[in-house]
């Protein structure tokens, strides 16, 4: 995964078992100038994301399965909640539990307005919950989530270049990151969204 420039298109992965809804979300996203891939199930989504759904995530954050290396970068996943087999919620969980995928923002769509369902999804780390039928005004809400991840990557890339400057501070960050690592994973939404991850970590292990 090379450096992403501000100009490159965002790529959204849309997951829905309904053909009509896939057509709809695809059109909505393309109208907003996003690159779109649609799949009809959670397992196909995981496959596309490069994650074998049977993989157990190791508790040790530094070991990354070679299978996780994505061919195509996905900047956001938008998924239907009610799907046979793997639900949108299950997919959300798998993504947030994956060390390589958890930074990808996930949005849930549902035809049913069930408050407990909504809060469950938000607690698990979903960025937004859209009621179907989804509209352009909903899709417009995706931009900030996409911009944030791009921003994060850019900061990370900059830090990589400047890593000689303040080793002490980096060390402190790394140690506190170390302790919070598992907690951050469990929480789903990391509190330091805009701060680079793993950077100080690799420094320390030098």
């Amino acid at each position: 995964m090379g450096m992403t420039t501000a100009d490159s298109q965002f790529h959204v992965l849309a997951v829905d078992d309904s053909l009509i809804d896939r057509k709809l979300i695809e059109r909505l996203l393309k109208t907003s100038s996003y690159q779109v891939t649609t799949v009809d199930s959670g397992s196909k989504a995981l496959e596309f994301l490069g994650l074998n759904e049977n993989d157990r995530n190791t508790p040790n954050e530094t070991s990354v399965s070679p299978e996780i290396h994505q061919e195509v970068e996905v900047n956001l996943v938008i998924t239907d909640y009610c799907m046979p087999g793997m639900t949108g919620y299950d997919l959300l969980k798998k993504i947030k539990e994956s060390s390589s995928l958890k930074n990808i923002p996930v949005v849930i769509m549902s035809s049913e307005n069930i408050p407990s369902r909504i809060s469950r999804c938000m607690e698990e780390g979903a960025e937004e919950f859209f009621l179907k039928p989804v509209r352009l005004s909903d899709v417009n809400k995706l931009k900030p989530h996409l911009m944030r991840t791009k921003c994060c990557k850019n900061i990370q890339n900059q830090e990589n270049q400047e890593n000689n400057q303040s080793p002490e501070i980096q060390l402190q960050t790394a140690q506190s990151n170390n302790n919070n690592k598992r907690k951050a994973v469990d929480e789903g939404i990391s509190p330091d969204r805009t701060r680079p991850r793993y950077n100080g970590f690799t420094l320390v292990s030098n």
Binding site: L19, I20, D21, L24, T31, C82, S111, P133, R135
Partner: protein, 152 residues
């Protein structure tokens, strides 16, 4: 030129009546807004999928209700799908019939399910007919060199 004006008026009157009578809701307008020169067939495509999907769902529903032992969860699953697709194209009356149908599924009320399957079927064929007429009018306007008015 005169013919385009006439067709457009016919179109506007017709689509307004569909909104008024609840056959279509605002979601249909949303679909139209997504259609443009780069995707001139979008509405037709989506509506065609809806027609195909619905025929299949109606068949599945009919056979699931005719079983010796009715699996109401399965029936509800089909109705849920139908509710979703009709909602996505703006077929309001079909959607509403599906919502009511689901209540009978929940109650495991076979008689209610039977009745509402008939109702959903009826509403579907009604809106199918209306949509076909609407899309035909659109075609005529375009062929006569006019543009299809967008109702808000």
């Amino acid at each position: 030129m005169e013919i385009v004006g006439q067709l457009q008026k016919q179109y506007v009157d017709f689509i307004n009546s569909l909104f008024r009578e609840g056959y279509l809701d605002d979601q249909y307008v949303q679909l139209q807004k997504l259609q443009d020169d780069s995707n001139p067939e979008f509405v037709v495509e989506v509506v065609s999928i809806f027609f195909e999907d619905s025929e299949k769902l109606l068949n599945d529903l009919a056979s699931s209700i005719q079983q010796q032992v009715v699996d109401f969860k399965k029936v509800d699953g089909y109705v849920h799908q139908f509710k979703g697709s009709s909602s996505s194209v703006g077929a309001q009356r079909v959607k509403n019939a599906c919502v009511a149908f689901r209540n009978f599924c929940e109650e495991k009320n076979l008689d209610g399910c039977s009745r509402f399957l008939n109702l959903v079927k009826q509403e579907f064929y009604l809106v199918k007919n209306k949509l076909e007429t609407l899309l035909r009018l659109e075609q005529q306007i375009l062929q006569a060199g006019g543009t299809v008015p967008l109702i808000e």
